[in-house]
């Protein structure tokens, strides 16, 4: 076998190894298969809703942060499964440019929600949602419905019900936190991370 053939074979093996396992020389990239590529992301509709202290919360305030926007209700069992995850994810990532924002769809509003927040020791901001908010988000009908919003204020993932486990949320959030403005890591079939330049808006 000639030196040229050996070199070619080694190169091919290295490339295949990189494709299958990721190249170990660079920093490890967290991959979340559920994130949309940048071209498919749409701006998350803004809203103005009151928090527990009566302050108006605009989603636009969160631009520059990765946001987990969770539509939920106190009467929703699956929501109660996720909320402890979100409490922990908020605690671990709040200093990294991340925030959880809960939108309660309880008809009785704070009367039901405030005791729940105290009981569960919810450490993130919660607002009371309304029909116009759910309509703006495509008619949120089932709860929980959770949106992951990137630093540019675009919806990068939608999770309906308990279709995602805690790890999927964590991976998606870590990937979004690693994105830099104008570029993001996307995933091609086979799970290989590829840096992509976002189209200018």
């Amino acid at each position: 076998m000639s030196a040229l053939r050996v070199t070619a074979a080694l190169s091919a093996a290295l490339l295949m190894g990189c494709l299958l396992e990721g190249c170990a020389s660079g920093p490890r990239t967290v991959k979340a298969a559920s994130l949309k590529p940048d071209k498919d992301r749409h701006v998350a509709p803004d809203f103005a809703l009151k928090d527990a202290d009566g302050r108006t919360v605009h989603l636009a305030e969160y631009k520059g942060k990765v946001v987990l926007l969770d539509f939920w209700a106190t009467w929703c069992g699956p929501c109660r499964v996720e909320i402890p995850w979100f409490i922990d994810i908020e605690r671990k990532n709040k200093d990294k440019g991340f925030a959880v924002l809960g939108v309660s769809m309880d008809e009785n509003g704070w009367e039901d929600v405030k005791p729940f927040l105290a009981e569960m020791k919810v450490n993130y901001r919660v607002v009371i949602g309304d029909d116009s908010t759910t309509e703006a988000y495509g008619g949120v009908e089932s709860l929980p419905t959770t949106f992951l919003i990137d630093r540019q204020g675009k919806i990068a993932a939608i999770h309906l019900g308990l279709d995602a486990g805690r790890k999927e949320f964590e991976d998606g959030i870590q990937e979004l936190l690693q994105e830099t403005p104008g570029t993001h890591v996307t995933t091609i079939p086979g799970g290989v991370p590829v840096a992509a330049v976002a189209p200018k808006q």
Binding site: W75, C76, P78, D112, G139, L143
Partner: protein, 150 residues
């Protein structure tokens, strides 16, 4: 455009989102004389793959299956006997639920002052449905019980 895109995404992810998850059938006509105790059954169908909380949910925060009478006409009472609920666990949460087709037994008494003739007792069935991954906002379904006072 954005709304359409979002709505499209949600409908693709949740194809049954517009289905009625609970329907109420026609109860058998109640027939009786003044002061007679009478009863009927309200057939309730819960869509396959879904459940509703029973009349006695496992947790205080869960919304029970409940019948509320808005107009009894010549009937009195309207006490509902629910079937035995099933046990179901979602996440780590044990639930008391109904699934499939159930009958709600309703007991009335024909009023002592009822005029002879037909009528309709009206009410609402309140429920809150879920599947094993998500829940849907509480809803009500109309109930109509036809009766004949002899």
């Amino acid at each position: 455009m954005l709304l359409l895109s979002l709505a499209g995404c949600l409908s693709l992810l949740w194809p049954q989102s517009n289905s009625e998850r609970v329907t109420v059938g026609q109860p058998r006509k109640v027939v009786g004389k003044r002061n007679d105790p009478v009863e009927t059954r309200i057939p309730v169908a819960i869509l396959e793959g879904y459940h509703v909380n029973s009349n006695t949910p496992s947790e205080e925060y869960l919304i029970p299956l409940k019948v509320t009478w808005t107009s009894l006409g010549a009937l009195e009472g309207g006490q509902v006997t629910f079937p035995k609920p099933e046990k179901l666990t979602v996440g780590d949460i044990p639930l008391s639920v109904f699934t499939g087709n159930i009958d709600l037994k309703v007991s009335f008494k024909v009023s002592a002052k009822a005029a002879a003739g037909p009528g309709i007792a009206s009410g609402k069935l309140g429920y809150q449905a879920c599947n094993n991954k998500a829940c849907f906002p509480p809803k009500t379904v109309e109930i109509s019980v036809p009766y004949q006072v002899q």
